[in-house]
């Protein structure tokens, strides 16, 4: 041995290389950014002892995957391409369709892509545990030893404000007594949409013949 480790100090070595189980809440978080953060912990790059050949990645448990978010209209616009290199095995599926079918799949895909295009990601992704809500098996719950911080701050819902806080907030506009707020206004049924009848555009005539 280069420098013998005493029985007293070997515990530090075990602690240094211990594999940790971390949990993170995916509710209201951007799927791509969360994938990057989770991939970083799966590969062990958050540790100063990281080396690609040292298997120093951690386990990550992601809860509330069904509440994961995407920026803007990405749920509608993002297409995921699938190809099994067999005939008739190509398909492009929208993100919202995948999420409808399997709520954990989108996060799995974003984490897999964030791990990089290499062979080691196949072993790293095995350590990712995704759950659509907060329910998880008992052995997973027992193993969890650390909680990771979210990326996007979750705003308070309007229902989470107390009546006192609402009253204390200053009014900018004074409404008249008979004013109805936008979300209390009755919803008017616009009726069925009727396609306008085509009318030929009139030719402009000067009057002369």
């Amino acid at each position: 041995m280069a420098s013998p480790i005493s029985r007293f100090n070997r515990v530090n070595q075990w602690l240094l290389f211990a594999r940790q189980w971390s949990v993170i809440d995916a509710a209201h978080q951007d799927a791509k950014e969360l994938g990057v953060k989770v991939a970083r912990h799966l590969s062990g790059k958050h540790k100063p002892i990281w080396h690609p050949e040292t298997d120093c990645g951690d386990h990550v448990v992601v809860i509330n995957c069904k509440d994961v978010a995407m920026h803007g209209f990405d749920w509608k616009h993002t297409l995921y391409h699938f190809d099994k290199l067999y005939p008739k095995a190509r398909d492009d599926i929208y993100a919202w369709q995948i999420h409808e079918h399997d709520p954990c799949r989108i996060l799995w895909i974003t984490t897999y892509r964030a791990l990089g295009n290499n062979l080691i990601r196949r072993s790293h992704i095995e350590r990712l545990h995704l759950f659509p809500d907060e329910d998880m098996p008992e052995f997973v719950k027992k193993n969890i030893g650390n909680q990771l911080k979210q990326i996007i701050p979750v705003a308070r819902k309007s229902t989470e404000y107390t009546e006192e806080e609402r009253a204390k907030f200053p009014r900018i506009v004074k409404f008249p007594e008979d004013h109805i707020l936008d979300w209390h206004a009755p919803i008017v049924d616009p009726g069925a949409w009727k396609k306008p009848r085509y009318r030929k555009p009139k030719k402009l005539t000067t009057g002369k013949k």
């Binding site: 211990a18 540790k47 002892i49 040292t54 298997d55 030893g145 650390n146 909680q147 911080k149 979750v154």
Partner: protein, 198 residues
């Protein structure tokens, strides 16, 4: 200086090939044998042997050195034993033996007096350690100044008291500047603890 990485390497080279002496590709940090120079310094050159021929032209430099420079060298280095070995029709060599038992052999045929004296001075100043490619140009005895990292070093100890996952530990860290919403909320609800500047 970082601690040495203990890597679980996959065996991509035959085990026998690992025992090949790649001395010419050895790499190491700079070091001194027996911590020489830390508290006390002792010259590492213990014995120097000059082997030369009395007649041949290749030993001219050695003969000149022995005539003119050797006595001064021996006087200046009392800790070094100087041996002079004449031989017939032998190639002139210099052999230096060091405190750690290693030896350096040098062929000095056709070297002039100046060249030889430079080489002998080089041997005088060497430690007995082999020539290696430096991994870094500095070295340290202390493995870590700030202490070895561990996974629990920067962990919030409050996480130990409650069952995870807990919404208390989810919010991201505060930024240096408050957001517009936070600024207004601080003004409205009189939060004086938040003293971040906009």
């Amino acid at each position: 200086m970082p601690a040495k990485v203990r890597v679980d390497r996959l065996k991509t080279v035959y085990a026998a090939a690992k025992s090949i002496n790649f001395g010419f590709r050895a790499t190491d940090y700079p070091s001194a044998p027996f911590q020489n120079g830390v508290s006390a310094f002792s010259p590492q050159l213990h014995r120097i042997t000059l082997r030369f021929c009395k007649q041949s032209e290749s030993s001219v430099g050695v003969r000149n050195f022995i005539d003119n420079g050797l006595v001064d060298f021996a006087r200046e280095n009392p800790t070094c034993a100087v041996y002079v070995v004449p031989g017939r029709q032998c190639t002139p060599t210099v052999r230096a033996e060091y405190a750690n038992g290693r030896m350096v052999h040098m062929n000095v045929t056709n070297l002039t007096y100046e060249q030889l004296s430079r080489h002998i001075n080089y041997l005088r100043t060497r430690s007995g350690l082999p020539q290696v490619k430096y991994i870094a140009r500095q070295t340290a005895q202390c493995k870590s100044i700030q202490g070895m990292w561990s996974p629990v070093l920067f962990r919030d100890p409050k996480q130990n008291a409650v069952e995870l996952p807990n919404p208390e530990f989810s919010p991201p860290p505060r930024k240096n500047q408050p957001t517009a919403t936070e600024y207004i909320m601080n003004q409205v609800y009189g939060n004086l603890e938040d003293d971040r500047k906009c």
